[in-house]
Amino acid sequence: MAEKADVWQGTLALMILKTLETLGPLHGYGIARRIEQTSANHLSVNYGTLYPSLLKLEQEGYIASEWGVSENNRKAKFYRLTRAGRKQVEKEAREWERTTAIVARFLWPGEPSR
């Protein structure tokens, strides 16, 4: 039943989940900034895909949302990881690790996998 999501979307979903796991409940803007910072500004998050991605994760039950107030007193919608989401982070992280290991073996044959 797994969908063949395109790589970027799948990656974005993992980044969102990981961000929420690390930082706890966060609004969409915060998630975007965190991803950009973590990538040392190598990535810029397209908001046109961020919000649909958040909605998709919510529909799949990995995250939940509710309106709250930001640190500087702005109304914002906060997303948090659900229990299913936590499991999903682990699972996706493992899969990601495996995938990168395999790709690495192709790119740098002979080197011990990092």
Partner: protein, 894 residues
């Protein structure tokens, strides 16, 4: 599972509506605000902070759109939009919507009704295994052309050797008298060959069927019960097997019970089965033959083989079989033979009604399409693609069609109930009780509704989908262009008028047939006359003396009964279904050809028969009590027989000779020295008026009546005719009682007034005229609504023009005439086409009932007048409206 959950949520998201839209807008606004706050904190000026944040966020609307797509299911979402929009549009035009739905519901409904009857009667397979291989094999008389005759026992045995058949079985209908418990009960029963159950492939549910030995004369008497009889008489106890049942006054041992629902005869389900006894004579047929084709053998191949087989029999037994061949017909068709043509014609009729309904709705939709030009042009100008607009219009049509189909289903089930009631009370229709709304009928209605949705939806969808933008916009501001009725709509109205006329003509022809038959004198007086069908159980009444005693007992009692004017027995009552034929010689005259005899209808009657029926005696006398066994054999002939066999001379005193072989009358016959010593000589003593014996539309045949008291034929059937002084209904109980008092073991099968029998004889034309008349009226109403709609539309388009005409001094009557002329011209063209088609098609109705005179000019003239009158009304209403236009208002509408 996650994907499923997401799908369900998205499906739900389709209906989330504006609340969710506001939520994403809020979320994006908050995102923007957070970004601006950050930027200001980073030292930007508020303006720059805002601009930067907006640039980073990108197209808000595009984001919302993608968000919406993720929220719902985009394709379904469009469909939902189309449906919601279509529903809104339809709701906003209740007049159009109701007219369209009602029109469609009627069109679809009558089709559903006819289909559900056809499904039950013609389509559902018979309840036998591999029923498609079962055929009926009828004897066919190549001289008379009768293709549904009964076969003789030796013929049937010879036929069953044909190689194309796996098996053949035969049965003879009739009835059986069950005695032993109170009054004699007459039940329908069959005498069946031992092979019959195997042939149809159904074995007794309990016990056994018949063995080959049991068809020999003198074999132990055994009987198989139907499930119904078994449950009714024995409470469904298995112990019934082996018990004794008195059938036709003889003891029978019950050996088996058939499964529930099993029956072979097409009309009334039979109750009992007894073995058919071998009968060596080829001279009289009484068997119906069912065959099971070998796998792969077609009906046509079987027919070809039977042709060869019957040819061989004819050569071997020319005397009896010279004219006897066989006709092979699938069993299902044979069972429904009487109503097949009728149902097919009704299918055609309701299909036309549906076509008219569709035409009507297409015309309505076109009119509305024209009125919506501006709306569509605006949508196109705002970027709606041609396909998108076409899809929107098609969605509206389908929505209408489904609503029409839904209401049509209700109309259909009512109509079907009415149809079943009308048909089944008028004449026997096999399996019509099985008519109900099942999955097939539902499917049929759905497909029909959707198909009509496409038919009348595609035309307007295509013609409106690509509006010429500039034209449409301009037209919207001036109402005078397009003043003439649109050509396509005019064509549709002509078409429906023509179709309506065809149906009206058909109904008219049938109505005329019915009226003609009703006014045809049957040759006797039907009022104050009772007819009771009796059956004389065979072994008991095998002797002439026994029958005579019974006849005398009944007649003498009845003659003394107050309220009874006279009473008599007859073998075959006119219009009651039975009739027989006879070959005879005329004494002192050569036969029509060597080895051939004269042919006439044959009947057996007692004294007073003609007086009781009030059939006039033209010459000589009728039978009296003095004509008895032992007195000289006498016959009475009808006028047609007198003219045919004794042209230009009086038949009185003439003598005929009946071959002894037919065993008909014996009486105290003279032996004719010249001819066969075994012939019976009978003298003509009277000539009576002609009677329409076989049907009101069938010209009288030559008929010869033999005296009941002088007939040696063991005639099991007898009809007791009673002429009453007062209302015949009031004497029914008395007649029943009298018959029972004479012999309680003679069952009275049914008793009826002759008026009712006469009504039944005209049932087919009456029923078909009623049905066709109803459908034709519906068609006429629909066509009138169509014409009304078109004329109204034209008038509304020409309001401006009418205003100018009036302002320039036109009389209001001129305006009325102008509009009327337009409407009547269309109806006139339709009528002309319709009459032409009706001339070609009404002869199809001859298959429905005898006596149809197709293409009757007077009938056609009358229905054309009716149609034009309806067209006149339909055009006059809008014409009057046009004439009432206030010139000032009309001109100001600009």
């Amino acid at each position: 599972m996650r994907a499923l959950r997401a799908f369900a949520l998205r499906l739900g998201g389709l209906f989330a509506g504006s609340r969710r839209d506001r939520e994403i807008a809020d979320e994006l606004a908050s995102h923007l605000q957070l970004h601006i706050d950050d930027n200001i904190r980073a030292g930007m000026s508020p303006d720059a902070a805002r601009r930067d944040a907006l640039i980073a966020l990108g197209g808000v609307e595009a984001t919302k759109e993608r968000y919406r797509d993720q929220r719902g299911l985009p394709m379904l979402d469009t469909l939902r939009q189309d449906l919601v929009y279509a529903a809104r549009v339809l709701r906003r035009n209740p007049g159009f919507t109701c007219t369209a739905i009602l029109t469609l519901a009627l069109g679809v409904g009558v089709n559903t009704a006819i289909f559900s009857v056809v499904d039950a009667v013609l389509l559902r397979p018979l309840p036998f295994p591999a029923a498609d291989r079962l055929v009926m094999i009828f004897a066919t008389n190549i001289k008379s052309g009768d293709t549904t005759d009964v076969a003789s026992h030796p013929d049937y045995l010879d036929w069953s050797k044909a190689r194309g058949f796996e098996r053949m079985g035969a049965f003879a209908g009739g009835g059986m008298t069950v005695t032993g418990t109170g009054d004699a009960e007459f039940v329908s029963g069959l005498r069946v060959s031992p092979t019959l159950f195997d042939t149809v492939g159904v074995n007794p549910a309990l016990g056994r069927g018949f063995t080959l030995d049991e068809q020999n004369p003198g074999a132990p008497r055994v009987v198989v019960l139907s499930d119904g009889f078994w449950k009714r008489q024995y409470g469904g106890a298995a112990g019934a097997i082996g018990r004794e049942l008195r059938v036709n006054d003889a003891p029978y041992t019950i050996v088996g019970v058939m499964p529930p629902g099993f029956h072979v005869s097409s009309n009334a389900a039979e109750q009992l089965y007894i073995p058919l006894t071998i009968d060596p004579s080829r001279n009289h047929g009484f068997l119906r033959v069912i065959g099971r084709l070998r796998p792969g053998v077609t009906t046509a191949e079987a027919q070809a083989e039977m042709q060869v087989v019957t040819g061989q029999i004819a050569r071997a037994f020319p005397k009896s079989n010279e004219n006897v061949r066989a006709t092979v017909i699938p069993l299902l068709d044979a069972m429904a033979a009487t109503v097949r043509t009728g149902l097919f014609i009704l299918i055609g009729v309701v299909a036309l009604v549906l076509l008219i309904a569709c035409t009507n709705v297409a015309s309505l939709t076109l009119a509305r399409g024209a009125a919506r030009q501006r709306e569509l042009a605006v949508r196109a100008a705002l970027g709606a693609g041609r396909g998108r607009i076409a899809r929107q219009l098609l969605t509206e049509s389908l929505l209408l069609a489904l609503a029409g189909g839904g209401v049509g289903l209700v109309v259909g089930s009512w109509t079907a109930r009415g149809l079943v009631a009308i048909l089944s009370t008028s004449f026997p229709v096999p399996r019509i009780d099985g008519t109900h709304t099942d999955a097939w009928v539902l499917g049929f209605t759905l497909v029909l509704a959707l198909a009509t949705g496409v038919i009348f939806g595609v035309v307007p969808a295509l013609s409106s989908a690509s509006p010429d933008l500039t034209d449409a916009m301009r037209e919207a501001s001036r109402s005078t262009t397009g003043a003439r009725a649109p050509r396509l709509r005019s064509g549709l109205v002509i078409l429906e008028t023509a179709l309506a006329l065809v149906l009206l003509a058909g109904a008219g022809v049938l109505l005329k047939t019915f009226a003609t038959l009703r006014s045809t004198p049957p040759g006797f007086q039907s009022d104050h006359l009772l007819a009771a069908d009796l059956r004389l159980p065979q072994p008991r009444f095998a002797l002439q003396a026994d029958r005579e005693r019974f006849y005398d007992a009944v007649l003498s009692r009845l003659r003394g009964t107050p309220g009874v004017r006279s009473a008599a027995f007859v073998a075959d009552l006119p219009l009651n279904g039975g009739s027989d034929g006879l070959g005879f010689h005329i004494v002192g005259r050569p036969d029509p050809a060597p080895g051939k005899s004269f042919e006439a209808g044959f009947n057996v009657a007692s004294a007073d028969y003609f007086r009781t029926m009030e059939i006039p005696v033209r010459a000589g006398r009728e039978f009296t009590d003095a004509d008895r066994a032992g007195t000289p054999g006498v016959i009475v002939v009808n006028e047609t027989a007198a003219k045919r066999f004794w042209p230009g001379q009086s038949p009185l005193g003439q003598r005929i000779a009946l071959p002894r072989e037919t065993r008909v009358p014996t009486a105290n016959h003279e032996r004719d020295g010249d001819s066969d010593a075994d012939a019976v000589i009978l003298t003509v003593v009277g000539v009576t008026g002609d009677v329409r014996h076989e049907g009101l539309a069938v010209p009288p045949r030559p008929e010869i009546f033999v005296n009941a008291m002088q007939s040696e034929l063991p005639w099991p059937w007898s009809v007791l005719a009673v002429r009453t002084v007062a209302d015949p209904e009031s004497l029914i109980a008395t007649v029943k009682e009298t018959a029972r008092a004479a012999d309680r073991n003679v069952p009275l099968i049914r008793i009826n007034t002759m008026d009712r029998i006469l009504t039944r004889a005209t049932a087919a034309p009456r029923v078909y005229a009623t049905l066709l008349g109803a459908f034709a009226s519906l068609a006429l109403a629909l066509a009138a609504v169509g014409l009304y709609g078109l004329v109204s539309y034209t008038v509304s388009q020409r309001t401006h023009e009418m205003g100018i005409r009036l302002a320039l001094g036109a009389e209001r009557t001129e305006i009325v005439q102008l509009v009327l002329r337009g409407g009547l011209a269309l109806a006139g063209i339709g009528a002309v086409i319709g009459v032409a088609v009706a001339f070609a098609t009404t002869r199809l109705l001859s298959g429905l009932t005898a006596g149809v005179q197709p293409s009757d000019p007077l009938t056609f003239a009358i229905v054309t007048v009716v149609l034009m009158a309806a067209a006149m009304i339909a055009s006059y209403l809008p014409a009057r409206r046009a004439a009432r236009v206030d010139p000032m208002t009309a001109l100001r509408t600009e």
